[in-house]
Every structure is written in C-alpha cells, then in structure tokens.
Symmetry: D2
Subunit: 115 residues, 4 copies
C-alpha cells in the first residue's frame, strides 16, 4: 500500500470482517501499541549501540515486524479518534522547532523529546 | 507535510542541524519510542473504555501530541535502519491475514496481535 | 525467598555464574524491565476492566510470570545502581502523601501518578 | 517501611482514604506500571551504557523516583490479584535456572529474558 490512508482503510476492513471493533477502544489500542513498542525494545535490549546500527538480516526482519506492528496500531488508534497522523506530525514538528532552537540545542540531548 | 517520506526528510534535516545524529542509534530510538508509547498510555490509564471513546478536546490534543511523538520516532528509527515503513506494513498485513482467517477469528480476541 | 534482599543476592549469583554482568548496564536493564512491563500489558489489553478482576487460573499464572519478571529486573537494576528499593518506596510514599492530600484527592484520578 | 508486605498495607490504606479503588482495576494498574516503566526508560535513553553506570546525583534521584513508582504499582497490582510477589519471584527464578543452564548460557545474551 502506498500511504497511511490506504493502510487505514485496509485495517478498517480487516477489523470489520473479523468483528474486532468491539475490542478496539482507544484505551485498548494504546495498550496494544505499547505492548508492540515493548517487543521492539526487546530486539535491542542486549545489543550495544554499535550492534544496533549493524543488524544481521534476521535481526532486521524481526525489528521490521515490530515496527510494522507499532505503525498498524498507531494508524488504527488514530482512525478511531478521528485524527490525521500526518497533520499531527506536521503540527508537532513545528512545536519542536520552537522548543529546540538550533543554536541552543546543538549537540545536546534533552532528556525527554529529542526529535 | 503530505507523506511519511516528507516527514522523514524533515526529521533528517532537523537532527542534522542540531547535531543529534550522535544520539540516534536504533537502540536509543527504540527507547525513545517506547517512552512516548508510555506517555500515550498515561493519557488513557484511568479512563474507562467508554471515556476513551469520548475524549474532551483537551484530552484529544494531549493524545494527538503523543501519537505524533510515537510516529516521529518510528519514522526516524526506520530511516536509520533503511526500512520503508509502508512496505513493511503491507507485508505485515498479509502475514496477519494468513494468521487470522476471517472464519476462525470472528469476534475473538487473540492475546497478542489483534490487528 | 523471603525478602527483596535475598532475591537480590540470588540474582547476583545467577548473573555471575552465567557471566551476564557484561549485559547488565542500567540502560540495558531499564529496557528489559520495560519489555516485561509490555508483556504484562499484553495480558490485559483485550480484557475489560471487569474481566481483569476475574482472571482464569491460566490467565493469572501468565500475569504472575510477568509480574515476577518485572520485579526481578527491578531488583537487578536497583542493585546495579546501589539503590535500596524499600527505602526509595518509603521516600516516594511520603512525597505522594504530600502531593495528594486526602481531602483534595478523594475520588479523583490524577492523570499521572495515582498511587 | 521494611518489607513489601508493609508497603502493600500502606498503599491499601492510601487508596482507601482517597477512594481510589474504583480506578485500580488490574487492567488500569498494568497501564500505570508500564507508563512508569516508560518514564524510567526516558532517564536512560540518550545516555551511553557507560554513562548509565555513572549517574550524577541528580540523575540517580530521578531514576530512584521512577524505580519506586514501578515498585509501588507492582505491589498494588499484585495485591489486587491476590499474588505474593516474593513467592512468584522464587518460582520464576527456578524456572529461569532450568531454562538457562550455566554451561549453555555462559556469556551469551538471550533476546528475551536474561535474568
């Protein structure tokens, strides 16, 4: 599929066909998403930072699976809440640009959101 | 911005300008992503499922912020690993369709990945 | 074992015997702990709140496994940092009592720390 | 306080006095716990492994706060489920000893539970 929009419609159909909407409250979806984020973490937990930059094919595939799972739940959650992910990201990047001016942020990590 | 691709380029520039690539190992980005997924959870933790379907404007904005944060780190992580999120999602949906055939999955929640 | 202290010594020996100290940096242990917290979440994600209060024996055992995993990593992390968990908890309860005076907090959930 | 048992009773009283039991379903507590595990992660996400072993006093205090939060929710969750944390940990250590025999596990990290 070629866009978040297409994925959204595909996931909507997927849930409808299986009668899964009953489980997909935003609360539950936030849990499922965080569970997948935890599985993503587990791929990296015993690797050094350098190793995490040089994954084997097998490791990369496992990571790709978890990245997809997080993305799919994020799309599903946003759909249920009527949010447009791209618009929210665009809004957030502008906030971050304000919060972390280039001159003051250069080479420094902020504890919380460094993106 | 109108696509994950545009967001990816924007985040790349954002990190370069601030000399933040040094912090953005896949390992570290997986942690940041999971931290944001935790913040997303916190928005919903004391709400009932019904309340989570009927957020106030203020609650929805807070949730939208966290969704954007998760998405931005997911894009950044995928970029660092050379993964195409849309391709991985398409691949994963096909796997899930195989794993959860409509007839057998109807109305049943699977403990792990229900999407 | 009858105390966190005994568990701590047991885990220390466990890691030493397997030469696992090399993996147990506080950073890595925080990831492993969050990964287990994610697995704990997964046990509950499709249950209603009522169902979560009435687990089957099988569900309870699966939950108990994850609770133990979180506890073991918490002990290991605290040991590596030289922190006394009971002392830190006692300190934190005092802070919380101050932060949430009975009269003002009665029946109200706070978004972040409600304990 | 000098034991998990004392902390459990103290937290029980704390919740009763504030009429917070209504929020403390196991499902909700698993979310709160994972949220705190996420905050713990955030303390370490931009640190190198070496830096995580040499925290400043200020960093250590912030980490100690999050460790306490995770522990308090773990106690509360276990109390609600009627589980004895120490007994579950003892049981789990025996399982892990079986799963990771010394000779086969020496110096090797397992992706999932390395404790």
């Amino acid at each position: 599929m070629r866009s978040l929009e297409e994925l959204k419609l595909s996931l909507r159909k997927f849930a409808e066909e299986r009668d899964w909407d009953q489980f997909h409250s935003p609360k539950n979806l936030s849990m499922a998403l965080a569970g997948e984020a935890g599985e993503l973490l587990e791929q990296f937990q015993w690797l050094t930072e350098d190793q995490s930059k040089n994954l084997t094919d097998q490791q990369l595939l496992a990571v790709a699976d978890e990245i997809a799972d997080v993305q799919l739940y994020l799309i599903r959650l946003s759909d249920k809440l009527g949010l447009d992910i791209l618009a929210e990201c665009t809004r957030k990047i502008a906030i971050n640009a304000d919060k972390y001016p280039i001159e003051k942020s250069k080479g420094k990590s902020d504890k919380y959101t460094n993106i």
